[in-house]
């Protein structure tokens, strides 16, 4: 009797064919995107989205062509930070055109489409059992978006990932081998522990991690223009990764996020300088051939 692998095709359901076709649409949409950079952590609340936005702005300020994809469908904050909350994507020239941040780059975020007092829900015939299908639905959603957007020619598409160390592997597999990961931590052992777990998960998926960024590394005082310690000094766990930069906590930067503005006009701030240096280091690493 024939086994599964003896039978060619899928019996006429065409499911495999459709999944392959969707991947083809993604490949076509991203063909002029030079670098796919995924910003994650595993830990929540460390400033992934903030750094994603301000790194993208810093890259744009250096002349880079960038766009941001907010993959955190359930807690999208990029739209507000980019100043595009309420601005929907539009159909232009046969593709989906994205709203532009005040810094000038395209942004896809569910925050453009849903008000902040609403959670993202999918209709379902198995609604009480969303744990069995929800993740699949979300990745399908992201795949459709990635294949529909007019990304155009980009130096980098920066993807803001949701929290969850175990999800890093899912995103590594979803984004494929061209994705490069940047992990965000804060100067606490709790955060570093979660990031270390994320790094291990990515290593198991053979994903390439460019390094980590230490966010909230000190407090940038606006009155005296100095950076003071924010966390108690201590010996920290060595992550075994390249440190791409250390960004001090800056109330101005947090306020700029709330207003949907970038920090590039405040070039003298310690946080702005640190972001620019980190962006430069990131682009340098991206341009280096893989070892």
């Amino acid at each position: 009797m024939k086994g599964y692998h003896d039978i060619k095709g899928d019996g006429g359901s065409r499911i495999v064919e459709q999944v392959v076709a969707r991947q083809g649409r993604i490949d076509a949409a991203l063909k002029d995107v030079r670098h796919l950079v995924a910003v994650g952590s595993g830990k929540g609340g460390v400033g992934k989205s903030t750094l994603t936005m301000h790194l993208a702005a810093a890259l744009a300020a250096c002349g880079g062509k960038v766009a941001v994809l907010d993959a955190d469908l359930n807690g999208p904050s990029i739209a507000r930070m980019a100043g595009v909350a309420g601005t929907t994507p539009l159909p232009v020239d046969g593709r989906m055109a994205l709203p532009r941040s005040r810094a000038g780059f395209g942004v896809f975020s569910m925050g453009s489409l849903l008000t902040e007092d609403r959670a993202l829900e999918f209709d379902s015939v198995a609604k009480g059992d969303s744990h069995t299908w929800r993740a699949t639905r979300e990745f399908t959603f992201l795949a459709e978006v990635m294949g529909a957007v007019a990304w155009g020619k980009l130096d980098a598409l920066v993807v803001d990932l949701p929290p969850g160390a175990e999800r890093m592997v899912q995103y590594a597999e979803f984004l494929g081998p061209r994705a490069r990961f940047v992990l965000v931590t804060i100067p606490s052992d709790v955060s570093r522990g979660v990031v270390a777990r994320s790094a291990a998960a990515l290593a198991s998926a053979k994903a390439r991690v460019l390094g980590y960024i230490e966010n909230m590394d000190g407090y940038a005082c606006a009155s005296c223009d100095t950076v003071r310690p924010l966390f108690a000094p201590a010996e920290r766990r060595d992550l075994g990764l390249t440190c791409l930069g250390r960004i001090p906590f800056d109330p101005d930067l947090a306020a700029a996020c709330d207003r949907g503005e970038s920090m590039t006009s405040r070039a003298n701030r310690p946080s702005t300088r640190a972001l620019a240096e980190t962006a430069t280091r990131l682009m340098t690493l991206l341009e280096m051939p893989p070892t």
Binding site: M1, K2, Y4, I7, G9, D10, G11, G12, S13, R14, I15, Q18, V19, R22, A85, G86, T87, T88, P89, L90, P91, V92, G94, R95, M96, A97, L98, P99, R100, S112, L113, L114, T115, D117, R118, A119, L120, E121, F122, D123, S124, V125, A126, D129, T132, W133, R134, T136, R137, T140, F141, A143, E144, V145, A148
Partner: protein
């Protein structure tokens, strides 16, 4: 998932998809060699998992091949799902009619949760060309994009959304 006709040792082919019933999908397979038919009946969880992949289940359209022969032998009765699919030129998604909003409209919180929803007045009318242009936006984002465009049009006093309005929105938002 594949099905094998054990007596013939031949793979069975999908021939039709029956109308959905309370979250269950009936997918009919037939053996090209002996004509034996069987139906796969999904439970709502299975239906949901497959639909979450964003795919459509429908018979292959190559009428000349064995599957076509089987499809002809199966002779769907007027009004059943396969017949309806053929009448509409194919491409009809059984999930779409079974799960309102899932394949066609997408996200549950699209009406009162969408940006711009709730503004006063009737929504502007859409021309066919403008609706066709909206098709490039993924189905689950489309209702929210539609709401946002309607808000843009309403704020400018447009009663109808045509391609000129879409172009104006594109220019206004710098896309």
């Amino acid at each position: 998932m594949k099905f094998l006709c054990v007596p013939c040792d031949q793979p069975m082919k999908l021939t039709s998809v029956k109308p959905p019933d309370r979250g269950s999908l009936s997918v009919v397979y037939a053996c090209a060699a002996c004509g034996y038919e069987m139906a796969m009946l999904t439970n709502p969880y299975e239906t949901q998992v497959v639909s979450s992949l964003g795919v459509k289940i429908e018979p292959a359209t190559d009428a000349a091949g064995p599957a076509g022969a089987v499809a002809a032998a199966a002779s769907p009765t007027p009004g059943d799902a396969a017949g309806a699919t053929n009448k509409e030129g194919g491409g009809k998604c059984p999930f779409a009619e079974m799960i309102p909003g899932l394949m066609g409209e997408g996200i549950a919180a699209t009406t009162d949760g969408a940006m711009g929803a709730g503004a006063a007045g009737a929504p502007p009318a859409w021309t066919d060309a403008a609706v066709a242009r909206l098709e490039v936006i993924p189905s689950f984002v489309r209702p929210m994009a539609r709401t946002g465009i309607e808000r843009f049009a309403r704020e400018r006093g447009y009663a109808t959304i045509d391609e000129t309005v879409l172009d104006e929105a594109r220019d206004f938002f710098g896309m």
